[in-house]
Symmetry: D2
């Protein structure tokens, strides 16, 4: 059986917004003649995005944004549909880098990036790729942060759309998507009970609060660690315990990092932990749990369960890390739920359309998507949900604009 | 017994941030020589704010921001402490307006406003008051919206600090404050069970989501109405039913408005409602439930319970309105919980200090409080809560600023 | 204005089950010729129960079950409707006892008891009252426990219906009723924020879990203390922290007792508490917080707010007790929400009808209400809620009875 | 790699109660000389139970309680440890039956049953197996119901312990275990978003309320269907919508059955459903969703995803069923979380010990485990959780026993 195709067909049923956009645009083919280079976790949902871009007329080359997250059967099916694919689950860092180069060799007009690896490469080693490049649409918090740093240094050479900063992205994807998929992944990979556990969530940004909310919804006692005092107060007001990692590391049963920062859990914390503690990372890069320090510290490492490694510490305790500290919902799961990606990818499609039409008038900066596009996607979603909402009456509109 | 004094003493115990600021500044008296005019719901917590400003050296004149919300015993005590008070619970609209004028007669250097009535008056009928006025600190969403409209028309004559738009205000006050106090008020004034009720919340801004969250926490089945599609999608994702008021009005048991708009519940909706439906408004002005249309429609009106009026409709059904559609948590309750006001008022104190020092360098616009002040208040709150949080290591700080 | 009448009319609107029973039985008058003696917290809802029993033909004499919970205006109105009333808010213990005697002087055929004071009195000092007594219907956990102890010692002289042990009572009243009304009372009497507070709930029976659930719903971090290991495990699994009172007393901001036991919070715990800690009791008797030890310990006691007393401890800290440690939702609030009492009182009405018909065939024991009566009340409630449910098909009924 | 062994070692780390029992009893070997026959879902956790019984001295023969739930690698490992195993994932109904017979051929002294298939067989076709049989310990609601029906007809030939009816079983397993594992399974097998979905839960017993609670915790709008009016009222009070399946089937996105009954979702409901609706069963037997009617009705059936089949209906809509309507958490997941089974299996071990000592004095009835055993397991669990609880003082103990 063609499992790649089966997987793509499955997700296509629940990607109702992409389907509405295909319906609307497939005759017109507004992306005809454009090459789109994509770096993204390659699985069924992103495959359907690539196919949607094809159906709108684009030529697409794709590579992963993380070797472990590529699903090979899906990649194969995508090739059969005429997409250029440069990704494989077994790829190591070097081959991953090669995949990025291959996509740049394609000289894309537009880049759809997830973490900004492709765009950064085009701005450093592969400046040749900038020649044809008209714009970039970036998916993640991390990628946006990197490209903003670029912009600050005056190094950004194309307009970038920070899709991540659209309301329909950061309000939904990071909260409801990460919230669910992180716990889906932890549960399926450990089979431990969440109810009654002390769950330590590091970071109370949109991802962190999604993870904390769902942990609470699964019956856990949730502890939050933060460095931002405002977010810390919010976490307290949401009913969570807030403390330093020095203290939390002593009582946590499960730890989930979502800070966007490095070494959030490190040597001194590993040594505090209870026997059997489970660690997972929900941030983009595998630096939040300091795997380097853990490898150095451990007297023994063993494969404990599919996707889970055990580390025996000098104090005799064993702690477990899921997916080597990589993004847990992708490296050891199916990534975000379908409907979440459907929304994000609808923003991506509209962002690429927007770039294709407006790139000449856009400064070489990181831009937000116009709020009308946010609203358009929200209305598509309500339509897909079969939900009707109120409209302002004329009197109400005037009242909202008035001041007396 | 001096009940006003007892009330103020009670709240002073739980206003730990104001107490920390008094400790810090009461020797220095940084507001010495300044006249501050205040329009605010006059009860124990605002009284303690006024006394705190006095203890920092200011001369204070105060009036209500809504007649029904004045507590006369507290007003009396305040007078005894040397504050000029122009407010009484029995005041009608005319006397309320007179109170505002009296405060402007005082020619304040700074205004602390709640809904912008005082500031708007100074910009229209009472331009004489602008002469000495150095700046305004505004508390509410509604007030900020009014003053922004002023600014847009080029009519704003002093710098305004939108305290409402500080994170420590809108993230906490509107959500946790309104959330709790609205239900406290509805419960104490009706004694009906919330669990199992269909609760309709209009508006899913910060206030609305606080109200919805607490209704859910009390066991209700919550229905949200919205005009903004993005917020509507969020409400769905938070597990609420979303529908038009035309549909919600048929099944709701309790209705709470928090939109900032007028006529959200109107003639056609009243006629849809079930016998015994209960209506409350949590928005600043008493225009969200169209009381005018309800009065016209009703064949009989009667006093049903303290703070509750019954309206018999032509269809024979009776519906109930709490506090005549005025801000329910203030007009029929004790307003926000003490600790919430403590946070907001710490922002106010620091905002007035900021204005007193920087007014000459500030444009005649609506400004945000500098984020350092937000952080300062957050750190004070964590101190009061006895909560410690992490700090970035040097490596982490560099990582967050980097891009590679 | 006749405030007693207004209050009763208000509750009568939301007591839809009693209204359905009045409709059904008011012609038949099945309680005609019977004297019913009642000891119960006398306020609007119990008044409407008394009036409902009258409308079914009974003659009713009523006294309080707790002096502080009597509402005098309601008592007056009840007299005007022909009910014999022996209760006043200002009554002390001695006058309270006199009220009980007066009701027994009435020689009731049936007793409706709340805490079993009336029934215990009839079995001890007032054995004369047993002559005419045909049965007792008891409302509370505490009362049922006392009468079961009586039964064990062979001292029970009449059949008792433990209405408290009916599913529609203990599943609803103790959980949803106590849950809401306890927090309603604490919020209105203190105006403190619940979100972010450490709330300590003692006892994880039905009352305790209702209180804990609502505290969580209001944003608190909830800590449970228990003596029963099974309930303690449940509390952990529900996401609460569980610890000994020795530990909880050091970190709690608000304490609520619901154990049915005495001295749950005592000397050593008071001394552990933070300055400003707030204590409330949700159990039937005012023995859960050891007021005696607190009075002895305190160096000063003062009236801090309506219904709240402050106690200054030798360590300089002040702690506050609501309603002198009496049942907080009644002594400092309006008791259970109307709809909860409507359900309980429908059980009471049907229990008294059941006793009146079957007392001769019932052993002198504590009995449960037949489960059909539970079901009948549940169906009435669904009718009042306008909720329809499924019925078993014939095949399904057979399947449930089969074993193969 | 020996994956079976790896799986068993993983679960053994989190089965702390079984480990505490092994510690306590492994020297004494209290089950020495006894043959135990087991029918149970054969995977790592049950394997560790079997090994625990071996370590207490018993000889063990085991078969599945459901073909699809057997994990072959675990079965192999078990054989290597000397357990007699008669189960294979590929077994059909006939071979499953043969497995049961093989276990009875072993002439067990004690049976540990899960659904009562083994015990019913011994009471019907295989009465020879009754000769040596001293008692049965039954795990599930369904099994207990079947054996009670047996008892009623006077057909029960051995004492049975209804482990399912122990508090530490039904309060935890059915609620927290089924609650988590059902959603774990649905999420991993579909990758759809739960937040914002209309989730229909059929049955509001302990399983159903666990499923509903977790669905709410994952952000769903939960609809409950019930036939019992008392449970229906509870569901309303818990904030859920309650309606008939006729109505729910029109709006549900995901359906989960947990009634213990048959044909809860049937022909007329399938035809009401939305395109893309997903069905799962969390009840013991695969009869709750009428697969027979669905197979008859569908114009096409196809394999849609691992463990998911699609059915195209005559109306053109497609609906999906997970795991062919079998117990979803076992047939398409890893079953209950480890810690839940650890508790249930500790009860089982203690139940078998209790039977081995007391079988001669026990009537041939369905018995509850003595409540001391419940308490013992609860105390073990608190020890494993490192949670301390209060004890009654002498005064408190006397008070609880008193009545005055």
């Amino acid at each position: 059986m063609d499992t790649g195709r089966m997987k793509i067909e499955w997700v296509s049923r629940y990607m109702k917004l992409l389907n509405l956009l295909r319906e609307k645009f497939s005759k017109e083919k507004p992306l005809a003649g454009l090459r789109i280079g994509i770096s993204i976790h390659l699985e069924a949902k992103t495959a359907y995005l690539a196919l949607t871009l094809s159906s709108l007329g684009a030529k697409v080359a794709i590579t992963g944004s993380n070797p472990l997250s590529t699903q090979d059967d899906v990649a194969e099916t995508l090739k059969n549909f005429g997409v250029e694919v440069h990704a494989k689950r077994t790829h190591d860092e070097k081959e991953y880098l090669k995949g990025l180069h291959k996509v740049l060799d394609y000289h894309p007009d537009l880049i759809l990036d997830d973490g900004a690896d492709l765009t950064v490469l085009a701005h450093t080693e592969r400046k040749d790729a900038l020649e044809n490049l008209k714009g970039v649409s970036e998916e993640t918090t991390t990628g946006v942060r990197r490209l903003r740093a670029h912009e600050k240094k005056g190094m950004l050479m194309v307009p970038v759309i920070a899709v991540n900063d659209s309301k329909m992205k950061f309000l939904l994807d990071n909260r409801y998507g990460t919230g669910q998929s992180t716990w889906d992944s932890i549960m399926r990979n450990t089979n431990v009970l969440i109810a009654g556990k002390n769950v330590v969530v590091s970071g109370y940004g949109w991802c962190g609060r999604g993870i904390a909310l769902r942990a609470k919804g699964l019956g856990a006692n949730v502890i939050v660690t933060e460095v931002d005092p405002v977010k810390a107060v919010e976490a307290v007001m949401d009913g969570f315990q807030v403390m330093r990692m020095d203290d939390a590391s002593k009582i946590g049963d499960i730890f989930v990092t979502a800070t966007g920062n490095r070494d959030v859990i490190r040597r001194e914390h590993f040594l505090n932990m209870k026997d059997g503690a489970i660690l997972a990372n929900a941030g983009h890069f595998n630096v939040e749990v300091s795997m380097k320090e853990l490898e150095e510290l451990a007297v023994k490492k063993f494969h404990a369960r599919s996707n889970v490694d055990g580390y025996v510490l000098p104090n005799g305790k064993t702690i477990f890390v899921i997916a080597e500290g990589r993004l847990v919902n992708l490296a050891a799961g199916d990534g975000h739920p379908i409907e979440i990606m459907d929304i994000s990818f609808s923003l991506q499609v509209l962002s690429l359309l927007f770039l294709s039409k407006n790139h000449e008038n856009l400064e070489k900066k990181v831009h937000l998507l116009p709020s009308e596009i946010d609203e358009e996607v929200a209305r598509l979603k309500l339509k897909a949900l079969d939900v009707e909402i109120d409209s302002l009456t004329e009197d109400q509109r005037r009242y909202m604009e008035g001041w007396q």
